[in-house]
Symmetry: C2
Subunit: 198 residues, 2 copies
């Protein structure tokens, strides 16, 4: 049985990273897809665990050699997903878990239409703004820019398969786990089971 | 918030009826949609609870007056779903639960595309045949005919949204409940939530 990608997006401050770690801890067959980026590491981030940090030239080479399943520019930096990891995991029956932005996710959906695409939304924009301020990692201008980006992202959220409310982390984790359980029974995944019955 | 139809189909002997009762007991907003039929009542069946038993002429009149949301002929009898009940429940935020055959379900899917369409499958055809024999309600010819119908039905099961294995009743009930939970978060149901955020 082949796996399929599980994609989680949300506006910055949407609570994506914590949720992704919780899903990984509970789902033995999920495998975190580490993105490549040209942005410099933040304090505490480790190369190969949080991101692969590469030069602009190295990133462009990966794009040219078609080594990225999707890539996008976000807030002046480039981010991409190595295709090799994705395809290897899928063919071995694992579920690559991707924490990527909307541009990348919608590119990936065209190439991997059998994946599960989930967009996490905050209860209100005010709450999103509060969470961004509480992180203490962004300047007021950064926060303003992230909120403007959030509004643009929300406008395309309906192109995902699911839009999940993240009003409470535990509840949101349960919602995503329920979705992933239910997805196992989607009709388009039943082909081999139905063939065996005939 | 409007509801939407939840449709459960399976070959005869697929365990649909018991499962439907379990879902109804656990889901306060689900409302069983009683079908209209021209077939005579079996022992223990009650008019208005299990079916509305009507004459062929009365059934034809309902078809002509477009009172049925779907209807189909199965094993020489006609079955249909009153549109009025369906639409009233949906507009009140309830979830009509329909236990109907594949022809009717696929008709309904065109008219109510936002519904949830679930097809239950037995683990094997041998198991299906065993369940039919154990009911002691069908003659050997009936069983043969039902098995042939089951094969035709399995061939279109992929047109449903979900194909759920019913190898164990409790497990199948949990699978359906998980699916219905997950469906609340489908992107196409998030419109008003997303609008409120912008």
């Amino acid at each position: 049985m082949r796996g399929y990608p599980i994609v989680i997006s949300s506006p910055s401050g949407g609570g994506k990273t914590t949720l992704v770690h919780r899903i990984l801890a509970d789902m033995p067959k999920a495998a975190y897809s580490v993105s490549v980026t040209t942005r410099p590491p933040r304090s505490g981030e480790r190369n190969g665990r949080d991101y692969y940090f590469v030069s602009k030239a190295a990133f462009e080479r990966m794009v040219r050699k078609r080594e990225l399943a999707e890539w996008a520019g976000v807030h002046g930096h480039c981010y991409g997903t190595p295709r090799k990891f994705l395809d290897a995991k899928i063919s071995l029956g694992y579920f690559p878990l991707l924490d990527i932005d909307v541009q990348g996710a919608l590119q990936l959906k065209k190439k991997y239409p059998d994946g599960v695409y989930i967009f996490l939304i905050p209860p209100t924009l005010r709450e999103l703004s509060r969470r961004l301020r509480e992180r203490h990692t962004d300047s007021p201008e950064d926060i303003k820019r992230r909120l403007a980006a959030a509004k643009r992202e929300l406008a395309v959220a309906q192109n995902y398969d699911y839009v999940v409310l993240n009003d409470d982390l535990d509840a949101a984790v349960e919602r995503v786990k329920t979705i992933l359980e239910a997805e196992r029974w989607r009709a388009h995944r039943a082909e081999s089971r139905l063939k065996a019955l005939r």
